[in-house]
Symmetry: C2
Subunit: 306 residues, 2 copies
């Protein structure tokens, strides 16, 4: 069980490492969506996404004798950069297993933050096995991408800052991949505003949570084809799923075209760069996916790495 | 003569109409430029640029009996949208003379803000004459783009907010087109930090201020060919030029390639959209155009309309 108190403690712990990102609003977006929307700009976060929150809280929670042996993670995306930044801050070594065909820009960024990158063939090798092997060989601690209380508590700090900035709102709208951000956000949101209605947003083809909710248990899907590359998880987390089942009213789905339209509006009118995975919450608002009666929404724009 | 007091009064006057835009920083930009840079994000301003500050201050300074007869402006760019927004706020009619071949998006935006657009052939007709004719026929007040004390005082409020956010800095770096933003910013900056060193930045081909400074008088240039379309003025203002001669240390020049590189860094790493004219200050910092010895710079990103 993860408590609001753990999230409050995480906020204090990670404060020296993370940015306190701004909350933005747009009259034009509000007119288009029919809602008053408050956007938490985690695209401006260090490393370009909210992931640094969970990674920093995780690394700062590792016992002193273990953190000196380094950390290891497997990720082709924002989690890799987040672990690299947090490790650099703590003067420890980060080893990141990334697929050989990961985008050159993400490889370069991860290396630039001081991490050692280990490539693997994602069609032949299992990334979890590689991460586990490096961990057991070196004594490094494996940093999971989402399904861990320290990660969840760290990610929840984003919603805490957001709701501190907005005051009372009808709804909280959060991108849903592995569920770390949504589960942590839900715990803190319900503790601060018990009546708030919470929505997770998945890409239509990456609908593992949507289907799992229907089935009443965690079900896995084939690797989805969507532009929202950060939300391509195929199975809800063992820890995150029950939290989300408990606290989240509905899993909303958006199409890639809806995501593109939201990104374009954020770019052309709000002048901000948001990655596809980061824009699903805005897309859900823009395309009226929330239930009738909701007038204001706090929305997490979770990242900006294109 | 325009005083710091007029700028402070303008700030109070326009406060209900404008956004108080954020000041952003980037460790990566600082590492690349060798400076500590503070960016005033006027790309997030209403209408997408700082121009609303001057337009709002101008319209709010027009006597009551005149403002009811409406306002008129000639502009193909951000000034048009700014006048339209300010007029809408005051419930008065705005007529904007725009060239027939202005970008459809700018035409649409100006109309969307409620203005009446009058098209003209910019190869055959003189826009000033058209503006003056409309003004005399309707009794509307002509809103000049930069060379007027009310406009200059309004634009100066951007630097005031910026320096309130940064505290003491070595330099202030401001895009230079007609000189409204730079002259207003210089007056308030010197009153708040007498030792601050102030720099205007022009595109290399749109160097009317640079050449005028060399000549010791206002000289005009041929219409320049630069991606910084908001800085294509061909002659310094009669009011703005002496203020800038008096308070600005140096006019810096940047190439279109340098502007593009700065825009790309702002986009990819800071996740913000800045138009070419708005990025010249960032380009000057990134390409080390400031004199040696300057360690910190407050930089106005003046707009984000692409």
């Amino acid at each position: 069980m993860i408590t609001q108190q753990q999230i409050r403690e995480a906020a204090v712990r990670i404060q020296p490492i993370i940015h306190h990102t701004p909350v933005m609003t747009s009259q034009l977006f509000d007119a288009a969506s029919g809602l008053r929307c408050y956007f938490k700009c985690e695209n401006f976060q260090r490393g370009g996404s909210f992931k640094i929150r969970g990674a920093a809280n995780f690394l700062l929670s590792i016992p002193e004798e273990d953190i000196r042996k380094g950390v290891v993670a497997f990720s082709s995306g924002n989690h890799a950069q987040a672990v690299a930044i947090a490790a650099g801050h703590l003067n420890t070594k980060a080893t990141i297993a990334m697929p050989e065909d990961a985008p050159a820009s993400k490889l370069a960024a991860t290396k630039a933050y001081g991490a050692t990158v280990v490539s693997y063939d994602r069609f032949k090798e299992d990334r979890e096995a590689i991460g586990t092997r490096i961990a057991s060989e070196t004594g490094a601690t494996l940093v999971p991408p989402f399904d861990h209380p320290w990660i969840i508590a760290g990610q929840g700090t984003a919603a805490r800052e957001l709701l501190d900035g907005t005051g009372q709102v009808d709804a909280l709208v959060v991108p849903l991949g592995g569920g770390g951000l949504l589960s942590g956000s839900s715990i803190i949101a319900k503790s601060q505003q018990p009546d708030i209605r919470i929505f997770g947003v998945e890409p239509e083809s990456g609908n593992d949570y949507y289907l799992s909710r229907k089935a009443g248990k965690r079900v896995s899907i084939a690797p989805p084809d969507t532009i929202a590359d950060g939300l391509r998880t195929t199975l809800p987390g063992a820890i995150t799923f029950p939290i989300i089942e408990n606290l989240v009213e509905e899993i909303l789905l958006v199409t890639d075209d809806e995501i593109r339209a939201a990104m374009e509006l954020l770019r052309s009118r709000m002048k901000i760069v948001v990655e596809p995975s980061g824009a699903v919450g805005a897309a859900a608002c823009l395309f009226h996916k929330l239930p009738e009666g909701i007038r204001s929404a706090a929305v997490i724009l979770s990242g900006g790495n294109l």
